[in-house]
Every structure is written in C-alpha cells, then in structure tokens.
Amino acid sequence: MNYVEEALRGNQLAGARLIRLLEEGDPQGIEHLKALYPHTGRAFILGMTGPPGAGKSTLVDRIITELRRRDLKVGVVAVDPSSPFSGGAILGDRVRMQRHATDPGVFVRSMATRGHLGGLSRATGEAVLVLDAMGYDVILIETVGVGQDEVEIVDMAHTTAVVCLPGMGDDIQAMKAGILEIGDLFIVNKADRPGADEVVKQLQVMLEMRTAHDQDAWRPPVLKTVAVRNEGIAEVVDAFYTHRDHQERTGILAERKAKRQMHFFRELVKEMAAERIFGVAEGTDHYARMLVDLTARRLDPYTAAETLLDQTLGGGDPR
C-alpha cells in the first residue's frame, strides 16, 4: 500500500497504519510524513483538557455530532496515560465515542502517553498532521486528565477548551496558576449539578483579572453544558469558531501557528540531537568510562554532559 497516496485519498487504514509507524518512531513513517506535509495546515485544531472525570470524552462525543451536523469531517486524538510500572495502558476514551465508529467522516485514534509528560503523547503532533493531510476539517485533541502543569496542548491547538465541574470551587483556586491560563473557553460540564453557577462566577472573576488590562484581548467565555443530555453543545461549537474569528482578525492565529512551528521544530532538533549524540557515543570506551565515573559520583553530570557535547559537536578539547 502506498501510505502517502492512500492517506491523501482519505483511506483510514493507510492513515491508521501510518500513525502507528510514527508512534513507534519508525524512520519510514517520517519519510511518509515529509511527503504529506505540504497537504497539512488546513485543519482547525481544537484542544480539550481538564481534570479526570470532568466529562471530556462525552463532550468530545457530542461535539463530534454537532460538527457532523454542520457537515464537517472530524478527526480525534484521545490521549490516556500509560502505566509507569508496566508500560501498558487502558485507552477508554473510545467508549463514549463508539457511536461514530461507522461514520466514514469521523476518525478516532487513542494514544497512550508512553512516559511523555505534559498531557499528550510524543507522537500526538504527528498524528494530527496525518489527520490534517487526510482532509479532516476539525481535529479534536483530548488530553489526559490534567491538573496544573500539563499545558502542552496550547502549543498544539488553535483553540483550547478547559473543562471544569460544579463543586470544584477550591480546586479552581488551586488550578489558577496552571490550566486556567491556557483556556480560550471554559466549559462547566455536568451543569445540572448543584454548584454550577458558583463555579461559573468564580471562573469569570478570575478570567476578568486575566484580561482586564487589554481592550482587544479575547475574553474567554464560560459555558455551561450537560453533555450526556446534549445541552449547550452547539454554543460550545459556536464559541470555538468565534474564538477562531477573533484570532484571525487580530493576527494572533498566525502568531500562534508560527510559535507552534517553532516549538515543533525545536523539539525535533532536541530529540534528533540526543539520538545522534548517544548514537555516536554508545559503545565507545570513553563513554563507558564516563558512565562508570558518573555512577561512582566521581564525575558530576554537568561536566559529563558538557564533555559529551564538546566531543560530538566539536569545539571542545578532544581527548
């Protein structure tokens, strides 16, 4: 099968197998991705993040339905954590989305974090590129259940929604330094439960503090949903597009896209550099001695790292 041609035609099997190659770090996958790359950059990339149990998957399920009603093709990348002990994972986000499994306009891919921190997996960005090239109009990324620090999604998505729950008033205080800053819109899900209006109010107060100094700044809306009853979903989708319009008008979207490219590029350089450096060093006597000295604490890791870099990249004292 010609992965590139078939993926561009929208062939789900080709796309799926290509994502698998990328996830496994297969060099052939990267070659395919290079060929697909000119066909990317068209999709509207949405991030959904929030604490575990907030209802992210159910919201994604309903948002898919709404986007399909608007005649848009939808790709989903749903990330769940890997076990740090076994390396295995149970990826259960699909359970909420299986009604779309027979719709050819929807493609759902579950991914395990495989030790990657930040709320996504290492290959999430690559999976998004494949779905983009396959012609999905909107790509939804669902992060792992996050608390404070897992904010990598902002570098990936054009618009990010943070999902909250009623009754987490104190938690919102705790969240403010972390994921509160990344939301372009906020969703208070399960809003039929008591305490929903309080959470909305708290969020609004804190968001006002965030944007008070700037007239043109985007003011993140706080929306109430009851995803299981499909309430408030159309409003959420409208808000995604209102935010996109604002970002386009103000030039922020272009800026964010440029930043995303830079981020992607820098991460790649880091990853490839590390691979090459260790690739050259591993197996040499000098490297083996270095590891022995490190383990025995005769050598500090800073000096060791500097020496290794000097030796592989040049500029240092070649011993």
Partner: protein, 131 residues
C-alpha cells in the same frame, strides 16, 4: 526512538451487559505491558472492525456471553478480510459451547477461552501469537 508496543482492542458485542470478563482481561493485559483499547458494550461487528482499523491494532479480543458467538465471530472475520486486515489476530472468550468452538476456529479465530481459563493462559497465547 523505537517504541514498539502491542495494541489490542477489547470489545463487547451484542445485547448482554456482562463486561466483567472483558474488563478483567483488559486490565490484566495492561498490567503486562499491552496497550488496550476498550470499546465498551453493545458493539456491532462493523463498529468493532472499524475501531480496530482506526486504532491499527495487532489483535482483537471479543467477549461474548449472549450466545451470539456464531454470528459475531464469522462476521468480524469476514469484515477484517474485506478491509485488508487479515493479519489481525482475533481471539475470544465467554460462554461458548464446546461443540461450537471448532467451526469458529475454522473461520480464522485464533483462540477461544471458556469460563474459568486462567489469565496466564491468555498471556501465553498473546506472547506466542501477537508479541
């Protein structure tokens, strides 16, 4: 960076809601390093095969306790072949009468585990046939 992981879809077709077996197997495989995609209840063969396709899995495990095994397994095997996924290993478990097993295995199902099978047997099967 090479990161090979075996991906398995665990699915629960049909109308019965008895998913404990499926969940126990899912958890057990996770604890042994597998990435398990769980579909939830009431899946049609079409849904199972499409999910397996999108998730690019190496294997599909199907739990049937509703007596619909003689429909579900052959249908899944047929759809897999149609979609070019003949290389995906299919196994199953549940209340499947002894005499129904050979004809199902003849359709290409690799193994069927009856109630009471020790989990280690499933793991051994996975290691031998999937990775």
């Amino acid at each position: 960076m090479k990161q090979k992981k075996v991906r398995v879809l665990i699915a629960k077709p049909g109308l019965d809601g008895h998913d404990r077996g499926a969940k126990v197997v899912a958890r057990f495989l996770q604890e042994n390093g597998y990435e398990v995609i769980y579909t939830g209840l009431h899946q049609s063969p079409e849904q199972i095969v499409n999910a397996a396709l999108q998730e690019a899995v190496d294997a599909i495990g199907i739990s049937v306790l509703s007596g619909s095994h003689n429909y579900v397994f052959p249908e899944v095997m047929k759809l897999l072949k149609e979609r070019g996924m003949g290389d995906v290993v299919v196994f199953g478990g549940g209340t499947i009468p002894e005499e129904d097993i050979p004809p199902l295995l003849a359709t290409g199902v690799k193994a069927l585990f009856r109630p009471g099978t020790p989990l280690e047997e499933v793991l051994e099967f996975m290691k031998e046939n999937v990775g």
